[in-house]
Structure formats: C-alpha cells, structure tokens
C-alpha cells in the first residue's frame, strides 16, 4: 500500500482537486483507493457527496483499537472509498497531542489497511501543525501543488528545511505546478527556474481552468464528467507520473 498526501501550507492551490482526481484515476485503473479527508472544511467529502460526519468524531478515529474501517464509506465510483471529514477535525492537533507518539499515530492507524487498499490519498488541511507532521511520517510521498508565484518558492523552501530538520529522508516530494497559466510571463519564468533547480518537480502542469471549479457543481471528479478537457488530460498525465513514482514500471 502506498500513501500519498496532497499538501501545501497555503490554501487554495489545488490540493483537494488533485487528491480527488488522482484518487479517482487510480481507482479507475484497478487500484483499490481510499481518500482520507483530513481537512475540516471537507471539500473532498463534498465532492463525493458523502455526509461530513464520522461517528465519534476525530477523537474516535484516532483510537488505535477502533480502527479506521468503521468510518469508511464507498463513493459512487468503483474501487474508491473515503473517510469523510468531520468538523471535529478542527481539533485534530489537540486530539493527537493527547496520544503517545502523536507524530506516528496516523501511520499506525493506516497500517491495518494495507491488505485492503493499494493507495491511500490524504487530503491535508493548509497548515503546518502536528497533523502535518503526522502526515509526513505516514506518507510515502507528498504531492505538493504550487502556483507559480514568488511566494510559493518560499513555501517550498520552508518544506525543504522542515524535511531536513526532521530527518524525513524517505519522504518523496512530488512538486507540480497547479493553476498554471503559460500565457503569463511570471508563471513561465517561475516554472523554468524551479524545474531547473529541483529534481522533484513533475513535468505535468495543471492549468487554471473553470472546469475544475465545475467539480463543485457536478460534485464529481473531473474525469467523471469531462474526460477530454485539457484539465482532465492534465490530471491523467499527473496520475501517470505519480503512479510511476509510487509503483514503478509503466
């Protein structure tokens, strides 16, 4: 089982769109996939039309003996399940802090699912917190959507520093440009600079496009209603790169 987490300290960069679309594409290809919506905003949960409610809330989810299984709901899409968000996740940091080895807790909770799922996608809230630390330790890869702006580069640098300080050498960073507009000179320059200086930048660009916003209207992943759009093709290409990185081969 591989665990990928969509993560960025900044909000509104396309984390949830990436999580939902990659999870859907993975499930379509035959990989048993689980999304865990860790963001109390519950956007991924909303896209999948699942009630944003977990019995017992975030506290119960963190209990080692309870396990995550009772919280899992099937989405409308084959092979794709979700642990929905719950508003109590806004206290997840506090709940985690009360546990032993809190930064290892998510990894421990996910371990029993390895026989059930091939891929778990964690949709993370935009923050740097104990939850993020626990995600970094649970994940095999962080999918980091970045809008090509100067501020984004600073965010990336902070993540690099954090990774180094915490000794997270096995955690893969998979950086990709999101909401990118190649017509903008600044975007082009930033993309070239970052891609030139980092080895962990994926070649796919997710374009800024309205059909991604339509996910909220249709309440479906993009490839479930707009298979031939530029954005859908971009997410397919992104999934291809992520798949090769996580699972190897072609």
């Amino acid at each position: 089982m591989k665990v990928a987490a969509t993560y960025n300290i900044k909000g509104g960069v396309g984390k949830t769109a990436a999580a939902v679309n990659i999870a859907h594409l993975a499930a379509q290809s035959g990989l048993k996939t689980l999304v865990w919506d860790l963001d109390p905003q519950g956007a991924a949960t909303f896209y999948f039309r699942v009630k944003p409610k977990v019995k017992g809330g975030g506290k119960k989810l963190l209990k080692a003996d309870g396990g995550l299984l009772p919280a899992i709901k099937a989405t409308d899409f084959e092979n794709l399940d979700i642990i929905p968000a719950d508003f109590s996740l806004r206290h997840l940091d506090i709940d985690l802090e009360r546990k032993k080895n809190p930064e290892k807790r998510l990894k421990k909770l996910l371990a029993p699912l390895s026989g059930e799922y091939d891929l778990v996608v964690l949709d993370c809230p935009p923050s740097i917190s104990l939850v993020s630390e626990a995600v970094f330790r649970a994940a095999d890869a962080l999918l980091i959507p970045v809008i090509p702006t100067t501020l984004s580069l600073r965010t990336l640098q902070k993540l690099d520093d954090f990774k180094k300080e915490e000794g997270l050498d096995n955690l893969l960073f998979l950086v990709f440009f999101s909401m990118a507009d190649r017509r903008k000179k600044l975007h082009r320059e930033i993309i070239e600079e970052v891609a030139g200086n980092r080895a962990d930048v994926l070649s796919t660009l997710i374009p800024y496009a309205s059909d991604v916003e339509l996910m909220g209207v249709h309440r479906k992943p993009l490839s479930a209603f707009s298979t031939n759009s530029a954005s859908a093709k971009a997410y397919r290409a992104l999934w291809g790169e992520v798949r090769t990185t996580l699972f190897g081969g072609k």
Binding site: Q28, S29, G30, K250
Partner: protein
Amino acid sequence: MNALYYRPGDCSSAKALSELFAGKFTVKAERERMAAQTLFDTFDWRLFAAGMSLREVREEGAPVFTEWREEVSDALLGRMEGGLSRKSAPAFGAGVNERLSQILKLRALMPVLTISATWRQLLLRDASGKTTVKLKIKHWSAGKPGSRKLLPLPPTLKLIPLKGYEKEAREARRLLEEKSKLTPAEHSTLALAFQAAGVKPLSYSSKVGAKLNEGMAAEEALRIILSRLAEIMTQNEDGVLKDIDTEFLHDFRVAVRRTRSALGQMKKAVPATVLKEFKAGFGWLGTVTGPTRDLDVYLLKLPGYAKALDPATVKNLEPLFRHIEVRRKGEQEKLKTALLGKRFKSLKKKWGTALGKTWNSSQEWYLGRLPAKEVADRRIFKLYKSIAKQGALLTPESAPEAVHRLRIAAKKLRYMIEFFSSLHPPEKVSEVVAKLKILQDTLGDFQDFEVHRLLLYRFAEELCAVKPPPPPMTFFAMGELAESIAGRQREARSALGAKLEEFTSQENSKLIKSVFGAAGSRLSNESSGNLQH
C-alpha cells in the same frame, strides 16, 4: 453484506424496479448500455480458476477498453484503454500488471467466449443525492469466440451494497424480496454462459492424473497413462504450431519425455515390437522439439542472468540477445515443418492404433498381466536405490555428466511416482514428491547453468561468422556472462550434497520403503531373476 444475485424473470425492467423502491429511496436510472465483450483466458484457464475474468469491451459509442474483474464480487482489478494485443501482455499499469502476471506467468491470452449484453444501473440515492445502493439489470447472450450465433441467457439482477451504507442495502434487499418475491440465486453467471456456449472451462490440465485401480494389470494401466499423455500432446499441438506461448511446447515436450520414460521404465509390460517402434518415434520427436525449447529456456533465463551484471555489460550483450531470438525463430520453423510432416502424422496414427487395443503379448517374461501396482512399485523402489547409490558415489570432483545422470534418474523416479500416484495414499505421494522436487530443483539448476554456459561458446562461434560481426565488447560481455553463470553453477553444485543427503536420509528412505518398498520385495521373491530391468 456481499453482492446478491437474483433471477428477476418478469421483474427485470427498470420501471418495475424503480417503483419498488420509490418512497424509500430516490431512484436514478442510468442510461441503458450495450456492449459486445470478448472474454480471454489462458489455455489452461488460469483466470477462471482464480475466479476472475478479463474482458475486451466494445460499448456502443465508446472506445474499446479492457477490464479485469473478480467474478463473484465484480470488483474491478484493472482497466485499460484499448483491446488486448495477441503478442504482448496486457498493460494495465504499474501496481496492477505485476498482480496479473503472477497469475498468467508465461501464458498468453486467448479468446474463450463472446458475450453480448445490455444492462442498466439503478442508483438508490439518499436525500443529498449520494448513491447508497446500486442495482444492475442485465440481459445477455453468449457464444463461442467469433460466433455470430449467441444463445440467450436468463436476465440477471444484482444488488450491490456499498461500504458504509449497510443499513440502506438491507432495506433495499427487504423491499426487493418482499415486494417482488425474489430470492437470491447462486452466482454462476459465467459458468452458465460457458455452458450455453458449449465451452468447457478447466478442460485442460498438463497433469497426467491417470485414474488407476488396485486390481488393474500393468499393461492396462500403462495404456491409460500413455493415452493420457497422447491427449496432452494433441491438446498442445496447435499452440506449438502457432507459437502462441512457450508453455505449449513445454507441455508438449514433457508429455513426449514422459511417454519415453513410461516405455523405458515399464518395458517388460510392453511388447518388444511396440517398444522398438515407438521408442525410436518418440526419441525423434524429442530431438526435433529440443532446440526450440532450449532456446526458449535460454531467453526466459537471460533477464535473471543479466541482473547480476552491470548495465553497461548488459547493453553490450544486445547482439547476443538478438542472435538467440533469430536462432529461435529459425528452429521454430524447422519444428513446425517436422510437426506438419509425414513422419509425425504417421507416428500419431500408429500410436493411436497401438494404444487402442490390448497388447496381451505372449512373449516370455511379459509382465503386462501382473498387477500394475506391484510392477510399478518395484521399479520405483529400484530407481530410488539407484539415486541413493549414485548420490553416495558423487564427490565435489565428479564430472558434470555424473550430475546429469543423477538428474535423469530423479526425473524417471518422479514420473513413475506421478504415473501411478492414484494407487497410493495421496498424502504420502505428496510428501515424497515434495522432497524429490527439492533435489530436482538443484539438479535442474546445475544442468541449466552447464548447458547455458556451454551454449555461450557456440553462440560466440556463430556470432564470429555473422557479417558484420558484433563489436569486440559483445564478446567480452559474453565472457563475463559465462563467468557469472559458472559462479551460479558452482553454488548449485555445492548445495547439491546437502539436498542429496536429505533425500536419501534414513527418514526419507523409510517413507519411500513404506509406500513403494513392500510390494516390490514380494514380487521379487515370487519371480526372482525374471524381473531384471
């Protein structure tokens, strides 16, 4: 709760079913879909045996795609755009390909069934529009691959519960069963489809599996075994000629080898004329099929050998790989000519005739009339003692030929045990074969390494004669490969001693004697001196 299947009969329209659930659920009927599907499997039905199906789906108005599913749960295991290529394995993508290749291994996929289906899904939704239960109504027909005439099958209705919505699934089930008086049916839709189409899954096995009984005479038992082997050869012949995958030739040659071994080991139960003619005939068949198989094995083993070398050396070996492929193609053509030729046709015909009648030879010392079990057991025990003797004489300095002879003896023993396995307690046979297999694996490895190492020298000579010859680095790389194989051979050789000791241990000897030893000694006492093979 697992998915439930029903035979809906008259209650198979979307309208009728929607009315059943109205009030409790919001029912969304998806559009009706139609598709022509071709089901694929290996010659030996590996997917069917694993409870899976692989289908090429041509849906109206949509591009072709291929799906791999678990049959009972209908769980999606893999999906890819496009159909299946006859020449290469399906490309579902990383994470899925590996799982499929664990099942298929070396076998190619062949079409086994054609299905035409019309289906519709009903989605039972909650107030927020979330699907909580799915129903799938299917009308379909099936036939042999490529057939235009498809036989209609009873419509099916499937109730698919969704994780986390068990309460809703139970409610949907209650409504369905109470209002329409349906009861769940056993899921056997694919089995029904095969039956309707006149296709028999799992109809092929490469195992001899001869059903013999205690009182059977040796000749009768032997003819049953040889007939079964002839059947295996026939079943694989077409696949060999068409070169569908390497396993057809493998199974064909194993059947030939077993035939020769059975004739050799049970020669006192075979009339001398039969023995003479067919020993030569099958000897020839073994010879004409050998070169292609040897090259197949080489090509299959090469990636494993290459892993031990550095990438630059492997790159320099590419002219060798191409040369082996070209040679293999040439040998396959020669093999095809031989199998399409008169000699093979005549061999098959005469062998069929010979096996179809009782031999009942009147020649002296003919053992055909004696109980099969006693004749076979004596032979098996003797083979075991021979292996023990050869093994005891084997030293680290013994020539490779001595190891080769031991390997042949082990193979003969294995075949004899398997031929007559139905005459012995199955758990004891399994135990003996498992121990023998451990020894055979090491002997086999050693032999393969020896053959492959020596073949490299022959290939080197052949490559020198090629115009233009490959670059010098290819020959250096071949030298490295030969040394790497020699290293593996030395490892196999040093492991052999322990494996032999284990096989010929007191504990194992006791086991073999208990299964095969008693009858053999009795037979020997009754007719001493007459049973020397």
